[in-house]
């Protein structure tokens, strides 16, 4: 049976008794939980019921302003909540799971959100307080199991603590460097009754101060370094998107004519077709970006961690840099892999806004000419092969129809890198993927959250046949709720990136990478009631996309691509930034 529910975006609850009154009401813990979520602006919850959260589900129908999406596996709930938050600045994703297996199934999704600094609040049912620690039915140590993949976690032990805990959890999840937070909520407390008073005053935690204001002395040093720089380069990451600093980055880049490259997660924060644009950097970045970084004398990193995907072999990274500048909100990222000469621990937007007036307009002609020459010498390109559909051809047709108005959510593997490189992103938030954790199976469930968070925008989920099957059960959720995502499966009947690595770096021994029993995706779509199409012909790609985009509702589009299609450029394992290999 298809459930349909209205989806109002109300942010305040009508009093449950229908009487407007300021006197505190006595509510159950479950009601307090739901009322508190509404106070935090929540309108959508992804969840799965079970024994230890049934009191919450008992009360849920009384709050029609909370749109609950029943997923088919808790991992899907965590990813969908992630997608919901990741695609809309300021939003927090919410997911529910029961105790034991339900909560444990969230772990991969929480880790994915943690690695990419996505604000998610997971509320897990727990066995009754008195039963905790007795190995009772469906009991697991949720706090312990999730500790290394969350920003913070709470075990509620008194019904009076529920409202302040939820308030604090949302504050922690969305502030500073955002991240997932778990609230473990024992079953008996869901039924216990107390007065409901949602805390009015802002959360203040002595152990969690607000990010510091940028140090003006350091900002001036940065401005001076930019002034002296002969070969400046800026690299930006997801921090720029989180702090919505894209305009400031653009302004600074234009003011001082600084070429800008980006990380995988920073893709979209800077318009690719801007004259100052480089491309993605690092392991699978554009050759000309790597060349620019390796020749730069002043390198400025903003809102990024500088992990091994960026640096490739660390001793090959930016060898000619004389001065390194690092701006990030998380002090633990400063000096983790490379030691900056000037660092600013602050929100990227705040820091750049205060920096820009100090920077003198300048233009290093010789450097920009050199960059243009590298762009000509090392264009990102692919090789066509007769009789085989190339994945880039699919992405180009998608782009031709939507330009930068669609959101592309990529899974993990070759499909992810193709999606990053072959769509001319011009706005932040248009390209989303699990960059840090690299979670296969992320994109499909997450795309449901993205679409619900951005109902007016075309949402493409680009995935491989491997990753799609990892959370294929969410087809039921997508159809049931008619969540209008266009799912692009780049099907090569194999684990393409693993196969490419085995071919090139593991002696060419293909081991456990052939997915010879890939389903017939058209029949699979029909089985779930989802419109589905497939082709392996270049000329059918455009018409198929047109038909899918004209269709209201989810569509599965399977493209049987060249099984030998690889990701290029790529830096071979153990090699340095300039050892990139290009398509040939």
């Amino acid at each position: 049976m298809i459930q349909t529910r209205s989806h109002p975006r109300a942010t305040t609850a009508p009093p449950a008794d229908g009487v407007a009154s300021s006197a505190p009401r006595r509510l159950t813990g479950a009601e307090i939980c739901l009322e508190s979520l509404i106070r935090e602006g929540v309108d959508t919850i992804f969840g799965y019921p079970g024994g230890a959260n049934l009191w919450i589900y008992r009360r849920l129908p009384e709050y029609p302003q909370l749109h609950h999406i029943l997923v088919r596996h808790e991992q899907g709930a965590a990813h969908a909540a992630d997608g919901y938050a990741r695609s809309r600045p300021g939003a927090v994703g919410v997911c529910f799971a029961t105790s034991g297996p339900g909560a444990l199934n969230l772990v991969t999704g929480l880790g994915t959100a943690y690695a990419d600094s996505v604000p998610v609040v997971a509320i897990t049912g727990q066995v009754a307080v008195a039963a905790i620690g007795t190995d009772s039915f469906q009991e697991s140590d949720v706090i312990g199991s999730t500790m290394s993949v969350v920003k913070h976690s709470y075990l509620v032990t008194r019904v009076e603590d529920i409202a302040p805990t939820i308030k604090e959890a949302f504050h922690v999840a969305r502030s500073g460097r955002p991240g997932p937070v778990v609230i473990d909520f024992p079953k008996d407390l869901q039924a216990a009754v107390t007065e409901f008073n949602y805390p009015e005053e802002p959360v203040r935690l002595r152990s969690y101060p607000a990010p510091p204001a940028p140090d003006p002395v350091k900002l001036q040093r940065i401005a001076d370094l930019i002034k002296q720089a002969k070969r400046p380069v800026m690299l930006i990451g997801r921090g720029v998107i989180i702090s919505q600093a894209e305009e400031e980055v653009l302004e600074l880049a234009h003011r001082a004519h600084i070429p800008v490259g980006w990380t995988l997660l920073g893709t979209g924060a800077f318009p690719l077709q801007d004259p100052m644009a480089l491309q993605m950097v690092g392991f699978m970045g554009a050759g000309y970006t790597n060349k620019a970084v390796c020749d730069a004398d002043v390198l400025m990193m903003v809102g990024m961690r500088c992990d091994d995907r960026v640096t490739t072999r660390l001793d090959s990274f930016a060898p000619r840099v004389e001065h390194l500048i690092h701006i990030d909100i998380d002090p633990a990222e400063i000096g983790k892999s490379v030691v900056p000469h000037v660092s600013v621990v602050a929100d990227a937007r705040t820091a750049l806004r205060q920096l820009i007036p100090r920077v003198e307009p300048k233009r290093e002609h010789a450097w920009l000419t050199q960059i243009d020459q590298w762009k000509e010498e090392h264009p990102v390109h692919y090789v066509k092969r007769d009789g085989f559909l190339q994945p880039q051809e699919v992405l180009e047709e998608m782009y031709a129809r939507c330009h930068d108005e669609a959101i592309v959510l990529a899974d993990v593997g070759n499909n992810q890198i193709w999606s990053a490189l072959w769509f001319n992103y011009a706005k932040p938030g248009r390209f989303l993927n699990s960059g840090g954790m690299g979670t296969m199976g992320f994109a499909f469930p997450a795309s449901m959250g993205v679409k619900l968070s951005n109902p007016d925008r075309t949402v493409f989920c680009v995935t491989g046949d491997g990753g799609f099957l990892m959370n294929v059960q969410e087809m039921a959720t997508m159809v049931e709720n008619q969540i209008d995502v266009k799912v692009i499966i780049l099907n090569n009947n194999s684990l393409g990136m693993v196969r490419q690595f085995q071919d090139d770096f593991y002696d060419g021994v293909q081991s456990a990478v052939q997915l010879s029993c890939t389903p017939d995706f058209v029949k699979l779509g029909e089985a779930f009631g989802m419109k589905a199409m497939r082709t392996d012909r270049r000329e059918e790609v455009g018409p198929m996309l047109d038909e899918a985009l004209a269709h209201r509702g989810p569509v599965l589009l399977a493209f049987d691509i060249d099984p030998r299609a690889n990701v290029y450029p790529i830096v071979p394992l153990g090699k340095g930034m300039l050892d990139f290999v290009e398509a040939s």
Binding site: H152, L205, S207, T312, L314, F317, V321, G335, F501
Partner: protein
């Protein structure tokens, strides 16, 4: 081998905090030499004294990661500062009547106390720096040690300063960074696979 770094950490006195701190240190690949935790004058705050076997740069990373924990209020790396770092030793010695006089002479030199005595054993209590305790334990060995319990160091900085500056966020130290790219760990290859 790196010397031990001594971290003095103030944390919220809440269940699970020890777990969070220990887990963070383990996850970042650092080895704890000793860890002691106890209440402070403020009942909502506990102090942890952690000795970790890491280099300065690693200690800085551990410190920053610990600071990020929501329940950690403040953290000081007090290694090398003038501090008092003491631990408590309880040691059960084989002490037949004929050996006791000689044993007690050593105990007296170390300002130790006998806190339990039985027909053939005694428990001795000694406090002091970890090095003093190490020495005492070595001197006890010939008499026959039956059991040892050590508290791990607790530490405070000497002088009037009760609280040092918060964790250095990379500020003044940067002036000392030489030109050119400085790579952590000497640029060792940490590149992952797929």
């Amino acid at each position: 081998m790196n010397p031990s770094r001594l971290l003095s950490v103030l944390v919220e006195n809440r269940p699970g905090v020890l777990n969070r701190v220990a887990s963070m240190i383990r996850r970042r690949g650092f080895n704890i030499d000793s860890l002691s935790v106890g209440p402070t004058e403020d009942e909502t705050v506990s102090r942890m004294t952690i000795a970790v076997h890491v280099g300065r740069q690693q200690a800085e990373q551990a410190t920053k990661q610990l600071t990020k924990l929501i329940d950690v209020i403040s953290i000081d790396d007090i290694t090398g500062l003038r501090n008092v770092a003491h631990e408590l030793l309880l040691i059960r010695m084989n002490a037949p009547v004929g050996q006791r006089t000689e044993l007690l002479q050593v105990v007296n030199v170390f300002l130790g106390r006998i806190v339990d005595i039985a027909s053939s054993t005694m428990i001795i209590e000694v406090t002091g720096t970890p090095e003093k305790i190490d020495t005492f334990v070595e001197l006890m060995r010939p008499f026959g040690i039956k059991e040892v319990a050590r508290s791990g160091a607790v530490a405070l900085v000497r002088g009037d300063q009760t609280r040092l500056s918060p964790v250095d966020l990379g500020g003044d130290a940067e002036a000392a960074v030489p030109p050119g790219l400085v790579r952590v760990g000497g640029g060792a290859d940490t590149t992952g696979d797929i």
